[in-house]
């Protein structure tokens, strides 16, 4: 089955202007060699602290940001080969919900105008008015159709974003921090709305630093730190296997019962340095960690082969090639 989204070895650099833009131009790799796949019928989670490159990875994968190295296949089409028009044609079937939905609504347009535009764009044959009424009802925003974005609450703005997304009926739904800043009740409802399109040929990619939410919504999860995926595992294996030290620290902070030595002082992420990116704060660092960056290696502990992969010399010591 061709994956909905396949990212192989992506590297995306940001030029840090340095002093006066001339001296000391350092380019930091926001995304430093990442492989990630979303199969049809699957919901994948992507967790990591702010600044780990999650958002950059996703925007580059959807062709919104250009990237230096690596290959991306979107719904089976290689991204590099697509013309602007073809890429826009694909957009309908892979939708992105941004982190701050109140920023992604046009402040001058009412909710009704937003939904009508999506209906005319993605469902040209259907009657726009009916489509809008149906989906507004489904996400519970029909009582605020006349409102302007600044009159809506955070939750209501997210509902408008989801309504537009559902109207496009995407095969791949990518949600960047969909429930940041919402309280428990709203968080659950918004997540359920996003999962409404779950079906064998559709896939979801959830990005968040809220691990319990990912555990609830996804089947597989990848952990990112300083631009690299340091661990990939099925959600059922959370807390039941030996984790990458960074994942353990994340799980412990989120209240999961995980016994692992506390991380050292919060040293800055080691980007662009040889060796493991988690070297600074890692309590289990070995001498070889500083020379050679660990590869993602499969561990046989989770159910099924190759399900649980960790990039750490300590947890998954690789047989030197």
């Amino acid at each position: 089955m061709t994956p909905l989204l396949a990212i192989r070895g992506m590297v995306k650099r940001y030029r840090n202007p340095g002093f006066t833009g001339l001296v000391g131009r350092r380019s930091e790799a926001a995304v430093d060699g990442v492989d990630l796949e979303v199969q049809p019928g699957e919901s994948v989670g992507l967790i990591g602290e702010s600044g780990s490159g999650k958002t950059t990875l996703v925007r580059a994968a959807l062709g919104l940001l250009d990237f230096e190295q690596g290959e991306v296949e979107l719904l089976g089409h290689p991204l590099r080969g697509l013309s602007k028009g073809q890429l826009r044609g694909l957009r309908g079937r892979c939708q992105l919900m941004l982190q701050s939905p109140d920023a992604s609504l046009n402040p001058g347009l009412s909710v009704l105008e937003h939904l009508l535009e999506s209906a005319r764009l993605h469902r040209p044959q259907a009657d726009a008015g009916e489509v809008v009424a149906d989906f507004a009802e489904r996400v519970g925003i029909s009582h605020r159709l006349a409102g302007l974005p600044y009159e809506l609450s955070g939750g209501e703005k997210r509902r408008v974003g989801i309504a537009r997304l559902l109207i496009a009926d995407p095969h791949l739904t990518v949600a960047d921090e969909p429930t940041a800043g919402l309280d428990a009740a709203l968080k659950a409802e918004i997540t359920d709305l996003l999962l409404a399109t779950r079906s064998p040929e559709r896939g979801h990619l959830f990005i968040s630093h809220d691990i319990p939410l990912i555990a609830y919504a996804c089947q597989r999860v990848a952990v990112m730190y300083a631009g690299r995926v340091v661990e990939e595992l099925p959600v059922s294996a959370i807390g039941a296997v030996q984790h990458h030290p960074y994942t353990s620290a994340l799980l412990q902070a989120a209240g999961f019962a995980v016994d692992c030595p506390p991380a050292l002082a919060a040293a800055p992420a080691g980007r662009g340095l040889p060796g493991c990116c988690y070297l600074g704060p890692c309590p289990l660092a070995l001498p070889c960690c500083s020379q050679q960056a660990p590869e993602l290696r499969a561990l046989a502990d989770a159910d099924g082969p190759g399900q649980h992969r960790v990039a750490c010399h300590h947890v998954a010591p690789g047989v030197s090639p």
Binding site: R91, S104, N106, G108, L121, L148, P149
Partner: protein, 270 residues
């Protein structure tokens, strides 16, 4: 829009209509001849049936001169607004969407033109190129266009920075629709309208000031709200309308420009 704003719109339309009509119709068609209508013996008459607002110190009809004076600033005002809007929106949109060096150039031009006081610039332009109200309109429009460009650029840039453009692209909208409809039409049309109204008010202020001080702008015997006021100063004629009619006309028109401009401010706090 509030009721007072509609009042303002009504008055501005009246003034505009008067200016356009008196400007376009050839001199012969007008029932009032500016030069011939001098009758010293009827100087300073109070308002009568024949002269709705009485006569000035040379016996000329104040009401007709008040009406004819509108052609001195309405034509140039519309020219200035057209120039400022077309150049401003064009430059603002291009630099807003491209960003980078284009936006830096617009900001630089806007700072430079803002650093020369507009009244001084217009004065210099007339001194060099000869005294015509159309020139005043053109120079004021050109000098104001960077301000419009910077405002349009600012609005587009803030929407880009708030990821709105990225979200629209991700949803599948074409760049042209995003720029023309979402950014310019929906978000900038009221703002450009406000700038045009403020410019029209400023143009009236400019023309009447030049005509009042004399030497530039509209010279006697052609009527302007500015020079009508200037000539009444010395003569304490019985007809108070000679002084108050142009004064109130100037103040009311500029105030209405501000009123309508304020009413155009959107209700949204982006």
């Amino acid at each position: 829009m509030k009721a007072t704003a509609w009042l303002g719109v009504g008055l501005l339309l009246l003034v505009g209509l008067a200016g356009v009509l008196t400007g376009l119709l050839p001199e012969a068609w007008l029932p009032y001849d500016v030069v011939a209508d001098v009758s010293p013996d009827q100087a300073g008459l109070a308002p009568t049936a024949g002269h709705w607002l009485g006569t000035d110190h040379l016996g000329r009809d104040v009401a007709w001169r008040l009406l004819l004076a509108t052609r001195a600033f309405v034509g140039p005002g519309l020219l200035a607004c057209l120039l400022a809007s077309v150049i401003g929106v064009g430059a603002g949109a291009i630099s807003g969407y491209l960003g980078g060096p284009a936006s830096a150039l617009v900001r630089y031009l806007s700072t430079v033109t803002a650093s020369i006081p507009r009244f001084v610039l217009v004065l210099l332009a007339i001194a060099i190129n000869g005294n015509s109200t159309w020139l005043i309109g053109a120079v004021a429009g050109l000098a104001y266009s960077p301000a419009v460009a910077e405002a349009v650029f600012g609005r587009i840039d803030s929407l880009k920075r708030a990821d709105f453009v990225l979200a629209a692209q991700a949803h599948g909208l074409s760049p042209a629709r995003i720029l023309l409809y979402h950014l310019l039409w929906v978000n900038c049309r009221r703002m450009v309208g406000r700038h045009a109204l403020n410019l029209f008010g400023y143009l009236l202020l400019l023309e009447t000031t030049l005509s009042y001080i004399g030497g530039f702008g509209v010279m006697e015997p052609q009527p302007s709200w500015g020079n009508m006021l200037a000539f009444e100063f010395g003569y304490r004629t019985a007809n108070i309308w000679g002084v108050w009619a142009p004064a109130v006309a100037i103040w009311l028109t500029i105030f209405c420009c501000g009123l309508v401009s304020e009413a155009l401010a959107e209700r949204r706090r982006a």
